[in-house]
Subunit: 240 residues, 2 copies
């Protein structure tokens, strides 16, 4: 059976404006590879309702799972929950279970559960909450869309929770061969290898160190023995 | 006149598999902000022809400019040029001007311009070459799509070349106010500010240091005096 597929939707002006370098995409990609879920596409859109709704509909229809990051806090620019509800035609309001989590949390910390913070209890009808062990305000899963916070520590904790509940496939294994020759020298060999090992993904990533060209050849697949065989054959063919 | 809009398309299994943390998106986002081009969307897709062609068509139709990164080297997984040609219905083959650049380069280095390296001279009809001062193999612009290498040093050089030829708009200016209070405490103030300064983008990015919550409030806009005014008012309202 092929692995389940996934897409990620990053919601955040801070990425598009160049203020923040993405961390969540890199983290999620690594975790999904380990869990045997094939990440096929990532989109980054701004804090704009029409853009978010369009992207959620497109990705949710095309892949088994969608993971979103960002836009579920207490401020005016946190519009993700409402956009997900709109994309699914679901009603949304402050929900009792989410409100109870926030009430307990703010009773402990002594801070006020004001109107802004109550926004974080807005959860679409039919969604299942995702626990937030870091700062309590929950994420949620609606249909095949998992809605998580943008703050990396919270995002990572939520990804862990979601993946524990998700049927994964075979983890993606990879081996790398470092070659001290330019890509152009080894391209024909790689091409023949890619043809012979059609079940594997063979990527070539050039680098330049002190004026000398080299490349990392990465062989990826879900069968360890096949990845081994391809790397062994490649090393022999290239005489490294 | 509003600033021109742009999208970025990152082509690369290495990002989706979690092997590589993106650097080009972060770089391009910062350069476009300085140049007054509004980056509205980023997509990351795998080295898959159908996925690339679909994304190019969608983005090229929706935005003024599209910048692509990756997949124009000499190896079998370098299929970007052919996909761009397909998206535009343009013919593609080894082109004399690109071939001449490679011939000159390899004559100097003493390496062979073999069949694999000749792939890098495949340029769609009607495209304008983008100079590559780092490793010579050119990128190209076809229609509103700027096709560049994935290696960060080459990507950055090509972006510089393209932006020098591109009519920009007003640079995006930003100021940040660091607030030692949780987002939920300042959300109502931010919301009122966002309403009053509808021409600005006001984002709130929470952090947690040694157990204490805080937030960076970022005000962005193209008019320096307006950004100043909003930050000044915010600091006064919050008493910081």
């Amino acid at each position: 059976m092929p692995n389940p597929t996934a897409a990620m939707l990053v919601i955040g002006d801070e990425i598009l404006s160049g203020r923040t370098r993405d961390a969540n995409m890199y983290y999620l990609a690594g975790e999904l590879a380990k869990h045997g879920v094939d990440l096929k596409e990532v989109r980054v859109v701004s804090d704009d309702a029409a853009a978010i709704v369009t992207a959620v509909k497109a990705l949710s229809g095309a892949y088994d799972h969608v993971f979103t990051s960002g836009g579920i806090g207490p401020t005016h620019d946190d519009i993700t929950a409402d956009c997900i509800a709109e994309a699914f035609g679901a009603a949304i309001d402050v929900r009792a279970d989410a409100r109870a989590i926030l009430e307990e949390h703010y009773a402990k910390t002594g801070a006020e559960l004001n109107e802004a913070r109550l926004r974080m209890a807005r959860i679409p009808d039919g969604a299942a909450l995702i626990d937030n062990p870091v700062s309590r305000a929950p994420g949620f899963t609606l249909g095949n869309v998992h809605v998580m916070a943008g703050v990396p520590a919270v995002f990572q904790a939520m990804v862990e929770t979601v993946l524990a509940t998700l049927a994964g496939g075979k983890p993606l294994l990879s081996q790398t061969l470092r070659v001290e020759r330019g890509e152009g020298e080894i391209a024909a060999t790689l091409s023949a290898l890619a043809e012979k090992f059609g079940d594997l993904s063979i990527g070539c990533y050039p680098f330049q160190v002190n004026g000398a060209f080299g490349a990392n050849v990465v062989v990826r697949g879900t069968e360890g023995a096949r990845v081994d065989a391809a790397i062994t054959e490649l090393a022999r063919d290239l005489g490294v």
